[in-house]
């Protein structure tokens, strides 16, 4: 089975809108899922610039799915849903 990739945007907008706290995922995810999931920060996903009118930062990408206004719980739920499939 292919690993699930989780990318936490640490660009300016996402960082001030809360992705600083999402960095917890870097510790939580390996503890919970072992090596089934890869999690890392990225400099910028570029989503705030295209989606700015509805500003839903912070953004996290779980594989190719974008999670808007991401929280740790939302990301964990998305990973769980992926793993069930």
């Amino acid at each position: 089975m292919e690993k699930i990739s989780v990318k936490v945007c640490l660009g300016t907008t996402c960082f001030v809108m809360g992705s600083a706290n999402l960095q917890e995922l870097i510790e939580i995810v390996p503890r919970k899922y072992g090596d089934k999931v890869d999690v890392s920060g990225v400099p910028c996903l570029g989503l705030c610039a295209t989606d700015w009118e509805f500003s839903k930062a912070p953004y996290v990408k779980v594989d190719n799915d974008v999670i808007k206004e991401a929280t740790v719980d939302k990301v964990i739920a998305a990973i769980d849903a992926k793993l069930k499939k």
Partner: protein, 387 residues
């Protein structure tokens, strides 16, 4: 040729103001630098005011180029009042006007003779003596010298040459000979030492010589070092016109010197255009700033505005002892002599959303302010290109 200049000072023991005053200014357009070191009579506030007035006036006179440096210094020498108590002039000074080709004009009045060190030896330049027309006991020395790569000049106040005066070992103080020995030994140990480190070294040593490490006079050492510039490039912000991305990425790639990227979008742009992957530091960033990333061929990759803002604040406050992206960027900047900024003019609308919990400055403004601080406070040569 780049002129690396710095000055370190300590106050006289028990005083709360510096009695020596150092001021220096770079003129990037004319490719020159002017520096003045003045020692005010006495110590504390009185000396501080006297030296500050002398130094700033001289700088203003010389920078305008309306009157030649020699004439300017002469005016100041002739007009310095005489102290009622000590019957000597209110302040002494050294002034240097030097260009990038190494042509230097130096005038000294009352300060210890400067040191000119070339290939580990002290040179003895010739000078003209100019006698004051109004005061018999005043005269100044005027030098015109030609400096080459690797040369160093050291200016100091008499606090350096007279330190340790009267204590057991050095009855007459450190004197010029002692200073020469101190500096030459250090240069043998560290031939490429920066001006900042060398001037600090001189000050620490003189402090150690003083009885109980309590300076009995204000002590200042100013060092100039002529060397190849260390250049660096900072690319921040995507270009206004996306069509130019490839061109700017190429410019970035071809630059010879150290390179930094400040901004997630900018990092992505370079990564895409030059086909170099970015990896982010997985260390969790504590506090206000995201951590750094890594890219082949780039010395530093950080987030943009937040990091730049904190860097600017810390540069202004002179406080950079911090282990985060801003600390790394400051180290990068202070380690360079000529700093080039490539600043993209494209704005990210999302940054100006009123819902953001912090205010985000416009990139251009931060860089302009940073350039001013780097030039005025850290004596760097700064060049900004907006794109």
């Amino acid at each position: 040729m780049f002129i690396d200049i710095d000055c370190h000072q300590v106050k006289k023991y028990n005083q709360n103001a510096f009695g020596d005053y150092f001021v220096s200014k770079r003129y990037p357009d004319e490719g020159k630098l002017i520096a003045v070191l003045s020692d005010g009579l006495g110590s504390g506030i009185k000396a501080n005011i006297l030296s500050c007035m002398t130094a700033t006036m001289l700088l203003k006179f010389v920078e305008k180029e309306e009157i030649p440096i020699r004439h300017a210094a002469e005016i100041v020498m002739n007009s310095l009042p005489v102290c009622q108590v000590r019957k000597i002039s209110y302040s002494t000074f050294s002034v240097i006007d030097v260009n990038d080709e190494g042509v230097a004009r130096i005038i000294e009045e009352g300060n210890p003779e400067f040191l000119w060190i070339k290939n580990g030896e002290v040179m003895t330049p010739t000078y003209d003596t100019i006698q004051s027309k109004t005061f018999k006991n005043r005269c100044m020395k005027s030098y015109k010298i030609h400096l080459e790569l690797g040369d160093r000049l050291i200016f100091c106040s008499d606090g350096v040459t007279q330190c340790g005066l009267g204590n057991g070992k050095l009855k007459l103080g450190l004197r010029r000979e002692g200073l020469i020995e101190l500096v030459l030994n250090k240069l043998k140990e560290e031939p490429d030492i920066s001006s900042s480190d060398l001037s600090e070294y001189i000050i620490r040593q003189t402090e150690n010589i003083e009885t109980n490490r309590l300076p009995k006079d204000d002590i200042s050492a100013c060092v100039l070092y002529f060397r190849e510039p260390r250049t660096s490039l900072i690319f921040t912000g995507p270009p206004f016109n996306q069509k130019n991305d490839a061109e700017y990425a190429q410019l970035f790639k071809d630059f010879k010197g150290k390179k930094a990227i400040c901004g997630g979008t900018t990092a992505n742009l370079i990564s895409r255009e030059l086909n170099r992957p970015i990896t982010m530091d997985n260390q969790i960033s504590i506090g206000k700033l995201p951590s750094c990333s890594y890219m082949e061929g780039v010395d530093l990759v950080t987030e943009g505005i937040l990091t730049l803002t904190e860097t600017l604040e810390r540069l202004e406050a002179g406080n950079w002892d911090i282990d985060n992206a801003a600390g790394k960027l400051i180290e990068f900047l202070l380690d360079s002599d000529c700093i080039n900024f490539m600043v993209g003019a494209k704005l990210n609308q999302a940054h100006y959303n009123p819902a953001l919990p912090v205010e985000i400055e416009i990139r251009k403004n931060i860089i302009r302010k940073m350039a001013a601080v780097l030039q005025d406070k850290y004596f760097k040569k700064v060049n900004i290109q907006f794109m």
